[in-house]
Every structure is written in C-alpha cells, then in structure tokens.
C-alpha cells in the first residue's frame, strides 16, 4: 500500500515548498535550512532518477482520482533530465548564494528561491495543462521577485517589464487552455493527445499558447525583456533565470508540440525555425557589440535559445535529442558564466569588458570557468555543446535542410568571437585601477564545477542520451 501511494515525484515537489515555508518562518536559520534542503531535494531527485531508470516512465494520480477529473504527475526521460539539471544547477547556486547574499537580502532570497524551485519541479512533473498554468505563474512571479531583489532602477525596471511580459504570456497560454478544454473536455496532456483533431479552436489554441510561451522563452523578436532582466539581477539569480527559468517554458512548448500539436504543423514549425535562426544571429551580433560582461552573457542566452528552435523544422528523433542536449549543456554553461561574471563583478565592482584588467591572474578559477563554459557555448570538441551541435548538424543534413547548417556554423563563429573578446581583455592591463575585493573561494569553485560539468557532458554523452529514451518522449516520429 505504502509503495503504491508514496512517490518520490511528490517528494520532489513538496520538499522545496516546505523548505520555503521554513526559510520564511525562521529567517535566522534561512541560509542553512536552504542549503540543507537543497541537498535533500537533490537527493530525492537522484532517488527518483534511479527509480525511473529501473521502472521506466511513471504516472502518478494526485488524490487518487486519475486523469480527466484529477491531476496527474508524469515523469519520463525528458522531464527527468530537466529535473536533474535543475537539481544540479540549483544545488551549486545554493552553495554559491551562501557566500553571495548578505544577511539583509538572504532573508528574502531563500524563501523566494525555494518557491522558484518548487515551481520548476512542479512544472516538469505536471501532465495537466491548467496545472501547468498555475506553475507558470508561480515561476514567473518568483523570478520577477528575485530580479527585483537587486534593487536599483535598472533591476526594478527590468523586473517590471519582465512581470508584464510574463503575465501577458500566461494569459495567452490560459486562453489556449480554455479553447482546448472546451474542445475536448480534458486538460490532461495524454488524453488531449488521443482526442485532438484539427479544428479552428485547436489552431487558435496552438497559436495563442505558442506565442505566450515564446514570450516567456524570449525567442527573437520577443526577447526584448530578457537582456536587461538577466543582466541586472543578482548573479545567482541571473544564473537561475538564464540556465533554468527560460527553459521551463520551452519545455512546455516542446511537450505540447510533441504530443498535442504534432499533426501537420510544418509551416508553423518552419516559422519557429526561422525565428530561431534569426535569434542565433541577432543574439550573437548583439553580444559582440556589448561593452558589459553580464549583458554579453544575456545576449548569448538569446542566441543559444535560438538553437533550441532549430529542431522544430527538422522534427526527427535525432533533432529532438540534439535540442535537449543543447538545452542541458547550455543550462550548465550559462549558469557557470553568470556565476563567474558575478565573481568578476564582486571582485572589481564593475563588469565593463574593456576594463577587465588582468582578471586572468587575479581570479584564475573564475576565468577558467568562464572559458570552459565558453568552449561549450561555442561548440568546441569535446564539450556538451559540441555533441548537441554535432547531432543538430547531422539531423539537418539528413533531412536535407542544409541551410540550417550555415546558421549553426555562423552562430558558433559569433560565439567564439564574443567569448574570445572577453578572454582577451581579461589578460591585458587596463588603464583604470580599482580597489579589488576578495572573492570567497566557494564562489569561484561553484562556477568552476558547473563549467566542468558542461564540458564533461561531452565526454559522457551516452548516458544522458539513454535517459532521454525512457518513456520515448520523442519516439515514433514525435507522437
């Protein structure tokens, strides 16, 4: 009985929620509680992973009601990998935040971050499109509150814009949910996939939900809110937002397109691909033009998000796998970059690229982290980014759509240019001297660990690829 009713899926959602309540209730202990709970959450994700790898995809009926009436939780390879990358990045960022946030801000940071974690875990496990709406709102509001934590006009303005865009996206999504519910009498993804047929309401729902989620994912040209928000947030928050939060709405989009909107939407898929290509190029060019490190990294995110949308027109098994692989390695690399940038900002009090002034000698670990993450972003062998891009190239060639190959290669070159721009400046001596503040070692090591993970993903590629197949989320030509 206990084995039937108990599930690690629930634990993964409830633990961060309880952690948020505890951190809020006991602010003095907030940091330590947060850290301990971060380890506990990561532990339960590992147990869940073990369970899924042995038993295959799991479905869990909340409240014992089952799909059309109740809400189901569903975990397969796709959601498991998302949970795991959230746990890894989340754990490292938690460790980093122990040193980063001083007492005043820490009181607010920990409960908000634990609620953000709750939202992400709930989102990746949900099989119910209305429940996904609630998790999206939880995620959006938590992210906005975390950005605003930085204070200052830039951060507040960016948070405001982010909030409005996020609400707009949620409402578009909710309108789509309403249309789908009234068409098919259910909000469960699996049941919708069975019942879906091509009607005007489904097309309208697809358009609305896709646009709503694109707003949140910040695909070009809806990316305008992302660079200021991600650049002006506190460093750990930047890392969380860029690495994880934008991927959450992408995950919903992917699920919906794979399961519900899978039939004859090739024209729309081509459009997504074109926007993705534009994002790769535009983001890359803008990143090159930036004078500030955090803005550069934020634009790099705009560019890297573009790659994820190149898989929609290809729509082969290998393309989906490539997209997910790129997503995972980008999550690790981008978190590492923002943490490294946070160290540099903390060290010198600014992040102007031109005045980096021999950071290479003063913060060698952080710069190594940045460089390694950059290697993955560029797609140099044998990093995680390389495997993802290689598979994407292969998928593009196999489907005969060679023009995407050009986009991928030019995007890689742009990435190389803006990364080397930073690294170059970090060796040279700058005119401006500034008083340097010591950076706690734990903050440097945190960034390095994530960067190493991003690179190691390239060396141990077979394992994530095997996990992806559990429950065949992309199987059978994406149905």
């Amino acid at each position: 009985m206990l084995a039937q009713s108990f599930s690690w899926q629930v634990t993964v959602i409830i633990l961060p929620l309880v952690a948020a309540l505890l951190c809020f209730m006991l602010p003095k202990w907030g940091r330590w509680l947060g850290l301990v709970m971060a380890f506990a959450i990561t532990g339960s994700v590992i147990v869940l992973a073990y369970q899924v790898m042995n038993q295959g995809a799991l479905r869990y009926a909340v409240g014992g009601w089952g799909a059309p009436l109740g809400i189901d939780l569903y975990v397969d390879g796709l959601s498991l990998l998302m949970l795991m990358v959230v746990a890894l990045v989340g754990l490292v960022v938690s460790v980093y935040s122990m040193a980063y946030f001083k007492a005043g801000k820490a009181v607010h940071f920990w409960p908000l971050w634990m609620l953000l974690w709750t939202a992400m875990n709930a989102l990746f496990l949900s099989a119910d499109i209305f429940n996904l709406y609630v998790t999206l709102e939880l995620l959006g509001l938590a992210a906005v509150a975390l950005v605003a934590l930085a204070g200052g006009v830039d951060a507040l303005g960016a948070a405001m814009r982010y909030l409005l865009v996020s609400l707009l996206g949620s409402l578009c999504y909710l309108l789509g949910v309403a249309l789908l519910y009234h068409s098919f009498g259910t909000v469960d993804i699996a049941l919708l996939a069975e019942r879906v047929e091509s009607t005007p309401a489904v097309w309208a729902a697809m358009a609305l939900m896709t646009v709503g989620l694109l707003f949140k994912t910040a695909l070009f040209p809806l990316h305008f809110w992302l660079p200021p928000a991600h650049a002006s947030a506190p460093a750990p928050v930047s890392a969380l937002l860029s690495a994880l939060v934008v991927k959450a709405s992408f995950y919903i989009l992917l699920r919906l397109w794979l399961e519900v909107f899978s039939q004859d939407s090739t024209a729309a898929a081509q459009l997504l691909g074109v926007l993705g290509a534009a994002a790769v190029l535009w983001g890359g060019v803008q990143a090159l033009r930036q004078t500030r490190l955090k803005m550069l990294i934020a634009y790099s995110t705009v560019s890297q998000i573009g790659y994820l949308f190149l898989v929609f027109p290809l729509a082969s098994l290998m393309a989906w796998q490539a997209g997910l692989y790129l997503l995972l390695s980008h999550a690790l690399a981008k978190a590492a970059m923002f943490l490294a940038a946070g160290n540099i900002l903390c060290f010198g009090g600014h992040d102007r690229i031109a005045d980096l002034d021999r950071v290479a000698q003063r913060l060698p670990l952080s710069l190594t982290a940045f460089a390694l993450a950059g290697v993955s972003s560029m797609g140099l062998p044998f990093s995680g980014g390389f495997i993802g891009k290689w598979m994407l190239l292969d998928a593009a060639l196999q489907s005969g759509q060679w023009w995407w190959v050009a986009v991928i290669i030019v995007g890689g070159l742009l990435a190389a240019a803006y990364i080397f721009n930073v690294i170059g400046h970090s060796f040279t001596r700058a005119e401006i001297s500034h008083e340097a503040k010591p950076v706690p070692a734990i903050m440097e090591w945190s960034a390095l660990v994530l960067a190493l993970a991003a690179v190691l993903m390239g060396l141990f590629a077979s394992w994530p690829l095997a996990v992806m197949d559990i429950g065949a989320p992309f199987g059978g030509g994406g149905s």
Binding site: S5, S7, L21, W65, H108, A119, E137, A145, T199
Partner: protein, 336 residues
Amino acid sequence: METLTLLSWAFDVTLGLTLMWLAWRALASEDLFKGIVLFIAFGLLMALAWVRLDAPDIALAEAAIGAGLTGALLLGALAKLEAGAESRSRRSEILPRPADKTKVFSGLLVFLLLALVVMLVYAIVKLPPLASGLSAQVAENITASGVSNPVTATLLNFRAYDTLLEMAVLLLAVLGIRSLAVVQEPRGREPGAVLDMLSHLLVPLLILVSGYLLWVGSYAAGGAFQAGAVLAATGVLLLLTGWLPGAWFVGWPLRFLLIFGLAVFVAVTLVLQLFGASFLEFPPSLAGSLILLIEVAAALSIGVTLTALFLGGRPQPEPPSSGRAEKRNTSGTQPS
C-alpha cells in the same frame, strides 16, 4: 415565456456591451482615478455576469477579490503615487507620450489585434456543440469528495493540487512585496467618529459573514477564498480606520499566520500519506471534516495575506508613539 427569454437576452446583451464600454473607458480615461473607479464598476458588473452564467461561487469571489480588494489595492497604490508626486512636482508628472511609436506601428497593431479577434471569434463559433466537459465525472464522484458543492469539491479535492500551488502563489506575492518595501507606519489619518462606529459595527458582522461563507461552502456557493476575502475586507477596514498591528504581532506571529494555510494543507496530506493515502487523497469518510479544517486554515491565511498585500510592504516594528503626528513621505525622502 417568450417575452421573458427576450428580456433576458436583452439584459445579457446590454450587460455585455456595458462591460466592454466600461473596460474601454477604464483603460482610456485621461484621469487615473477615474480609470480605477470605472475598473471597480467593471468588476462589479463582471460579478453580475457570473450570476447570469450560473456561477455564484465566482460571482462572490469576483465581487470580493476582483472588484473589492483589487480596487482597494489600486486606489491605495494611486494614493501613494500621488503622495510622491507632490514632493517632486518639479519633475513634472507629464508622462512621456507614446508618440514615438509611429503611425505605421499603430496601424500594424490594430491590424494584428483585429486578426486576433477574427481568429478567436471564428474558433469559438466553430467549437463543436458542447461536450459536457467533466460534469459527469464530477457528479459521479461527488459523494466520495466529502462536500456537496461541486465547485468546492473540485477546488479542494479533485483539483486540490492546483489550490495548493495557488496558495503558494499568494504567499509568493506577499514575499515579493515584503522584499520590496518596508512600511514604517501606515498612513494613519484620524478616522473620525462615524468611521470608528462603522468599523465597530461591521467588524464583528464581517467576521460572522466570513465564517458563514466558509461553512456554507461545502454545500452552496462560498468557500475558503470567499471567506478569506471577506476577512481581508475586515483587515483593510481596520487598517483604514488607523488600526495598527502591534509590534509584537508583526514578527513571527504574522509570518506564522501568512503560512498557516499552506502549512496545514501540507501537514494534513503528509499525515494522510503516512497512513497510506496518496498525495492529497482524502478518505471519503474523513474528507468532509478534513476539507473544512484545511479551509478554515486557508481562509485565515488568505485573509491575513490579502490584508498584507493591501498594506503593501513589510511592517516594521517601530515605536508607534513618536512619529505618529508628523506625516512621513517615504518616497519624497530620497534626494536626487
């Protein structure tokens, strides 16, 4: 009977058109205050529309939360905005015109929105003749849910997980606001004898109404959210009459009340899990009482939370006696 259906048709059309007109006026009016008042009127008429749509539960929630408390929040924010404006009048409140957006842009926007309307209308009109949704499943399982009001059954049993997360959203809003602003002392004015008397009369009555809504929610329109909203109205009324939470209250007791609903919700499900139920599963024999327990805690928390939202920041335990008389202007203190 013919005339009656015609009359109700005419009523519905009038109501719908009035809603659109009010929304348009609320959004387009030059004066922000007028816009907010029109928005509150819009919310009240929305409640009427809910009644017409046989949704009394939503009508109550809309009137209390959508029109009442949202209106109070908006007016409170506007008052603070204008209080700040007085002190920095030199930096003119003239808003930058959205004029730099060119005519082409406006035309394109209108075109796109028209396309959106056409798409939506087409989609709605072409919807298949109505599937009955989940009404059959709800009716089948309602006896096992422990309550007889199907909306409450859905909110607190069938889809209780949504409600759990939704309460987390509410808590999140408070956390966000507490991280943004500190309320040193409420903008206390002398309440005057009439308001004082009104609050003395109304507060017990409101608490009674809140309890009634909570109790009645298991079989008729009402429930934790409506009850919580009425409690919050009590809180807002008290704040307006110059009542302050005591210094002893704003520390852990307040934080405890804010999380109380969620904590009880989680604790109940965890305890039940120990006895072999699955997550958020209530055994039918106990479901009624457990749901009531959760609802009482939730209503209390929702009431406190919504009041805290109206307060608009983290209350700071300050010595209340000294600074009362002089009017502080938080937004005007920053030199620039």
